[in-house]
């Protein structure tokens, strides 16, 4: 990889200084300049110069290369959350594009460094990714490409079974175990004739049951249902060392990428907000305005009907900035019912800039939308709901009501739009079978995929796998024992 030519490195210095002057705070940024094939490679690897060998990167590469070759899309920016931040420029891009990318990248980097979601991520992931690659290559040399790659496929099938909040919450505190001591219900001291009153038998019995329940729960395995299914498998599945290693790598990388998915709207919005500010206020030359406007509108545009995260993000930041500049928040404003007064409302507070910096630190997409997407914004931006209409076989606009739009949007962002699945029993039926529970939330799993995924978990766990989920609006238990599937209604089982 070549270092930057002098004109670009001068440009970088200039843009970096502007970014700093606006208060952006970032890790050092290193730009690499690449031809489109290398750029597609890096993009296929998720922004990293190297990953472990796997066909899906090749698939991504083919997709990117073909999209590029047929003029469908062009990668503008790519930046990885690392200290220092690495970012990439496409060699054949015009100067104005390079400026745009640089400005965009500095804002991303500020976001990586300051947003709380990223606070627990590994900032030396660049090195770790390379190490992962070496470890997997080594296993491949030892056990064969086919074997290892197939196992990676199996692990990737479970990639989304992690607990996105785990980095911030201690789910299981280590418990001081009192070995060999059977706790008894403590009785209060009393004279024998008073005993039934001071220690009523009913209460004593209830206490005893409660304690038994507690010991049972402690013996239960896992103690509490866990959404980090991958961790559970790592700790308890009968895996060979190299398999455990592969699974750990897949889990590590899944956790690394999670915050990026959790803040897609915010992160892109933030970068777009700042590239637009930096470009139009500081960096652009007169000759570049039209090309810039063309490309900028390309970023914010998109096919009609699509929700573009760049667009939604930047508009929401601007909306917040405007509200806090004019003091359009708080009880007084919310209670004001006079539409004319509301429209004219301007307390000239000028707190907007400060507010969006605060938002970028403490929010993720869910809280961003939940706290700041207002009814006015929803109407201004013409947001709508769409649904699949089984009669016509088409997607159709189904509603424009604010409350519903917001609710759907939040629902889609919750848990990254993935179903919530926990491991609840590692010794189901007292036969060492695994029981997973899907919390349905009104939606059902894609059935054929669910079965294939069960097959993959079974390969790791070795013993039969059971999934409690809803199929055709009925609570059902899908079991796979390594040879065949069995499905039955859960009500039947009880009866």
């Amino acid at each position: 990889m070549a270092s930057l030519p002098p004109d670009l490195s001068q440009l970088q210095e200039e843009i970096e200084a502007h970014a700093r002057s606006y208060g952006l705070d970032f890790f050092p940024v290193i730009f690499e300049i690449l031809d489109y094939r290398s750029l597609n490679q890096v993009a296929a690897y998720g922004g990293f110069p190297t990953r472990y060998p796997h066909w899906r990167f090749g698939m991504e590469y083919e997709y990117l290369s073909k999209s590029y070759a047929y003029g469908l899309s062009k990668i503008y920016e790519m930046v990885i959350n690392n200290d220092p931040c690495y970012a990439y420029l496409l060699q054949c891009n015009a100067q104005v594009d390079q400026k745009l990318v640089m400005a965009h990248v500095y804002a991303h980097c500020d976001f990586f460094k300051n947003n709380f979601s990223f606070s627990k991520t590994n900032r030396k992931m660049m090195d770790d990714m390379a190490n992962h690659a070496t470890r997997i290559r080594r296993s491949m040399d030892k056990f064969g490409v086919e074997t290892v790659e197939s196992f990676v496929d199996t692990c990737l099938s479970l990639e989304n079974l992690i607990d996105p909040h785990a980095p911030f919450i201690v789910r299981d505190r280590p418990r001081v175990q009192e070995e060999g001591h059977r706790p008894a219900v403590r009785r209060m001291k009393s004279k024998s004739y008073m005993n039934d009153f001071i220690n009523p038998p009913a209460m004593m019995e209830a206490q005893r049951l409660k304690m038994e329940e507690e010991t049972r729960r402690l013996k239960h395995f896992p103690e509490n249902p866990s959404r980090d299914v991958l961790r559970f498998l790592l700790e308890h599945a009968p895996l060979k060392n190299w398999q455990r290693d592969v699974l750990a790598i897949v889990r590590d990388e899944a956790y690394y990428f999670t915050p990026q998915a959790q803040t897609k709207i915010m992160n892109e919005g933030w970068a777009t907000y700042w590239h637009s500010k930096l470009m139009t206020e500081k960096v652009l030359t007169d000759a570049e305005v039209i090309d810039y406007a063309d490309h900028h509108s390309g970023t914010l545009g998109g096919r009609s009907g699509r929700l573009n995260p760049y667009k939604l993000g930047v508009e929401l930041y601007r909306h917040i900035e405007d509200r806090w500049n004019k003091g359009r928040y708080g009880k007084e404003f919310d209670d004001c019912e006079d539409l004319v007064e509301r429209a004219r409302w301007d307390r000239k507070l000028g707190l907007g800039r400060e507010k969006i910096f605060e938002v970028r630190r403490f929010c993720n997409d869910v809280t961003f939308i939940d706290n700041y997407l207002t009814e006015e914004f929803c109407h201004e931006q013409k947001l709508f709901l769409y649904d699949y209409n089984p009669k016509t076989g088409m997607y159709q606009i189904s509603d424009r009501e604010f409350r519903k739009v917001k609710q759907r949007l939040l629902f889609q962002l919750t848990n990254l739009g993935q179903p919530i699945i926990s491991v609840t029993d590692g010794n189901f039926r007292n036969k060492g079978e695994l029981l997973l529970k899907h919390d349905p939330q009104g939606l059902e799993l894609k059935h054929d995929y669910a079965r294939e995924t069960l097959r993959n978990i079974q390969q790791i766990w070795g013993r039969p796998i059971n999934l409690e989920t809803v199929v055709d609006e009925k609570l059902r238990l899908i079991s796979y024992n390594g040879e065949e599937f069995e499905e039955k209604d859960i009500a039947d089982k009880v009866a």
Binding site: Q41, I290, G305, K382, L383, F384, G393, Q412, P419, E452
Partner: protein, 368 residues
Amino acid sequence: MILRIDQDHNRFRQIVRGKIKKDLRKHISSGELIGRRGKDLISIPLPQISIPQFIYGHKQTGGVGQGDGAVGTVLGPGDTEGNRQGAGNLPSDHLLEVDVTLDELAEMLGEELELPAIRPRGRKNIVSAKDRYTGIAKHGPETLRHFKRTYKETLKRAISTGTYRPDNPILIPIRQDRRYRTWKSSVVPQANAAIIYMMDVSGSMGEEQKEIVRIESFWIDTWLRHHYRGVEIRYIIHDAEAREVDRETFYHTRESGGTVISAAYKMCSKMIELEYPSDEWNIYCLHFSDGDNWSQGDTEECISILRKQLLPRVNLFCYGQVESPYGTGQFLVDMKEALAGEEQVALSKIENKDGIYESIKEFLGKGV
């Protein structure tokens, strides 16, 4: 330059082609190479393999969008399910297709099947003109208007005449601002090809067999058109007799009755003799049948027509035998025996739709 990703890419290609890891093939979203057909454009789905995960079914979820439209406005079809992770959940994302021209498609076909380029024979060249868009002019048809250049001119004029207002930057182009693309014509030599399709339409050729012939001939057309400027295509159907038909009839006729293949070969030979002198035309004959011929004697006659009349004139003679439950498939066996080692003959057995690619490769793999 060899990139690290090439290794992963090759592996992916091999999976898609079903060479390795066959169990993954069932997750390929689209193995078919041909998608929707527009006028000159073909959209080809890019093959994607999705690793199964616990996910929601798309149809239930719907989503949030942005833009105009009343409740009930149709956004797009929901018949294909998307499977690119993280690509959003909008209807328009569900189709992973690129539109390509037939020419590009042919190139891809060549790449996919590793076909050699065709070398047209002899001096069969006719001259023709070809247009290329190379310049900008002040006059031209509106369809060729260059938006960006026009916009720039308008902006320049507005600024220099002082009518540009930054607070209301509306620009209205006038006649003199307009810029158009222009082209240059250049003369290129042109090689012509004639393709003659023959198909057995006797009772034993069912819909499925014809579908196979249709797909295969589409690809062969595409490939040959890519290599020859002028292509003429003729269609002959036969049962016990042969007749020339148009394209539509060729693919949709179903006759009953016996099969006398030599009738078609005779007609083909006559057609070449009268209309396509072999020093001006590159000639391709393709014959599809289910391999049942009326008699052994007729098969011998076919071979003799081939040897004496057809092979000396054509670039390539292809015979594709489509597997059907009724045919004995004897014709292919006889052909193989009699014509082994002939440069210009390609014989292929097509068992089902999956066999089409292999068969195209056998036909076009010779590069003649």
